[in-house]
């Protein structure tokens, strides 16, 4: 029997080492033993491709890390103040016309439903926003009382009457320094139209819109607003001989509201108010501790607010909100119906997606297209002879387990690249036309 060369003997030992990775070093001649130790360590040699891929992935992450972070948004949506009245009326479109005619308001947003009613609308009145919507069977009318400051109370009072409002009282010089008249519009809202005549507001101009609340229990409401929303009383609290609160102004954030105990013609109008707060969750918790009942727990809205709803112990409704990101008005999309990727070779693409990846086919037309389903989303693969050589699309798919995905691809003999970002890891493959499918697992 011919004697084996040293290289041959070494390879025999290396082969044993590679085929039984967990075993001890195979026995070898003393001269070969040190080489076998090196071979044993080389079993752990990293893949050069992995080193490069990880480097690229880190470079992407580091370039993301060095990009300037977006400026934090204000907790109050642009154009709003902290306190905004939200009026639910029957005939919101007509109410919008009334606001324009009587007060010169400008409609800034209208969201109609298919039946023509308004799901939501906003009007700007002297730099302050009024929100309103149509009532329906589930949401009954909820009018409000508002104190508005204008440059000529008499003229605006007259315009309001001409626009269909009924007079509550004609403009008179009030002893608190305003010339003021009152009207009730045909939607149930009461308006106190005022011009300062013998006082100068601190900021040079009074807030154009101030909600007025007439609860049966003003002290209780004041206490609630302090505890829940850090409301502060501005000035004195004049009281009747019986101790009822006649009038108080309270500030929350950058806006004020007025409170007085219900009396005479000023009964309780249990209005709804939209209140921007720095932290909706915290305000909701505090409101609940202060005796409110929950209408809606805090949740993120598609228009960029985190929002919640409570009713205070006196029956007023508070829509709490914190603006968390600026979003252009979102389209009311419910689901992705389909999208199309193109292939220069329909049969080859079908083999890749249907035979190899085993995505189910919904329907197909030979020579033209096939429509498959990826996680419930139909994806149409369309034949286009001119597509060859063009840059492909990217399709991102979230998977529940990236390790299983990786093994699934290995089993199918599909090459993949992989990487990692701060919040996700991914494995990417390319179809025969160069379209990329990225399997993503969130960390």
């Amino acid at each position: 029997m011919p004697k084996r060369s040293k290289a041959g003997q070494l390879d025999q030992a290396v082969q044993a080492l590679l085929s039984q990775p967990d075993s001890l070093l195979p026995s070898a001649e003393a001269e070969l033993a040190p080489l076998l130790s090196v071979a044993a360590e080389l079993r752990g040699l990293p893949r050069e491709e992995f080193k490069q891929q990880l480097k690229s992935s880190l470079q992407r992450s580091s370039s993301m890390a060095t990009q300037p972070k977006p400026e934090p948004v204000s907790y109050i949506r642009e154009g709003f103040h902290t306190i905004t009245p939200y009026m639910i009326v029957q005939g919101a479109a007509g109410f919008s016309d009334f606001l324009k005619t009587a007060f010169g308001a400008k409609e800034r947003l209208r969201v109609p439903l298919p039946d023509g009613s308004l799901m939501h609308a906003e009007a700007d009145l002297g730099g302050y926003i009024i929100e309103f919507a149509d009532s329906n069977e589930q949401v009954p009318p909820r009018p409000a009382e508002l104190h508005i400051y204008v440059s000529d109370a008499d003229a605006v009072y007259a315009r309001a009457l001409a626009a269909g409002a009924a007079s509550l009282f004609a403009p008179v010089d009030q002893d608190y320094g305003d010339r003021e008249g009152g009207v009730k519009d045909k939607f149930g809202n009461q308006w106190y139209i005022a011009t300062p005549i013998s006082w100068t507001p601190p900021a040079g101009r009074p807030p154009a819109v101030q909600p007025v609340l007439h609860p049966r229990g003003a002290d209780q409401l004041m206490e609630f607003l302090k505890q829940a929303f850090d409301a502060e009383i501005l000035g004195d609290v004049p009281r009747s001989p019986e101790g009822a609160v006649l009038h108080v102004t309270m500030q929350i954030g950058d806006n004020t509201l007025e409170i007085g105990d219900a009396h005479g013609q000023f009964g309780t109008v249990p209005c709804a108010l939209h209140l921007y707060v720095p932290d909706t969750d915290a305000a909701y918790e505090r409101a609940m501790r202060a005796g409110a009942t929950s209408l809606e727990a805090p949740n993120d809205k598609p228009y960029g607010d985190r929002s919640a709803g409570v009713r205070d112990p006196l029956g007023f409704t508070w829509f709490l909100a914190t603006h968390i990101r600026d979003i252009t008005f979102p389209l009311p999309i419910r689901r992705l119906d389909f999208f199309t990727i193109r292939t220069a070779n329909l049969e080859r693409a079908r083999r890749f997606y249907v035979d190899t990846l085993q995505f189910p086919v919904r329907d197909e037309k030979k020579g033209e297209y096939f429509r498959m389903e990826i996680a419930g989303v139909p994806v149409c693969v369309d034949y286009d002879a001119g597509f060859a050589g063009q840059r492909g699309n990217q399709v991102g798919v979230t998977v529940s387990h990236l390790g299983v995905t990786r093994e699934g691809l290995r089993t199918r003999g599909i090459k993949f690249s992989e990487g990692e970002r701060a919040d996700e890891t991914w494995v990417a493959i390319k179809d025969p036309d160069g379209h990329e499918i990225i399997f993503i697992q969130e960390k």
Binding site: L10, L35, G44, K55, G403, E420
Partner: protein, 181 residues
């Protein structure tokens, strides 16, 4: 050649540069990739896990680089600690903390850490082999190809491939001894 070791002052400057500008992290990565991989590879079960952990360590290091405070301890020690934690986390998630020895113990064991350094040096030395020897080592030990498959791929005889493997291991052994002499 030895797994590159920087003077402490040079390393401190590199770290501070990367803390100011994350795009400089690549230099720290190049200096430490083999070390981390060499530390990890003997404490996990397969290549996929070694890559996952190594990737996790460097991404964590990048994300937390600003928190790293220079106290004269090598940067690699910080990476080893993160690697040991990552391995322990994975073990716990997989419910097998008793099966593999604790990687954190390695950090305290000078012999184990010397082995890690030597392994890291070896991984670097592979890149210095001649092209033929380098290809054979990669195909044999990374791609786990048989001698016959390598011979077919490189259009050489099986004997020639065995010789290349033998010479490559001899070279690596000799250079490793010089590096750690």
């Amino acid at each position: 050649m030895k797994a590159p070791k920087l003077e402490a002052e040079d390393e401190r400057q590199l770290i501070e540069a990367a803390q100011r500008d994350a795009s400089r992290f690549g230099e720290l990565y190049e200096l430490n990739f083999e070390r981390v991989y060499a530390f990890v590879v003997r404490r996990v079960r397969n290549r996929a896990e070694a890559e996952d952990v190594t990737s996790e360590v460097f991404h964590r290091a990048l994300a937390n680089l600003r928190r790293f405070e220079w106290r004269g301890v090598p940067f690699a020690a910080w990476l080893y600690r993160m690697a040991a934690n990552a391995i322990a986390d994975r073990g716990q998630r997989a419910g097998r903390e008793t099966e593999l020895p604790d990687a954190a113990e390695d950090i305290e064991d000078p012999i184990a850490m010397r082995q890690v350094e030597e392994r890291a040096t070896l991984f670097q030395l592979v890149n210095d082999l001649s092209e033929d020897q380098h290809r054979v080592v990669i195909m044999r030990f990374v791609e786990q190809m048989s001698i016959r498959e390598i011979a077919d791929e490189l259009h050489r005889s099986e004997g020639a491939i065995k010789q290349l493997q033998f010479r490559a291991l001899e070279n690596l052994r000799a250079r490793l001894r010089r590096a750690h002499a």
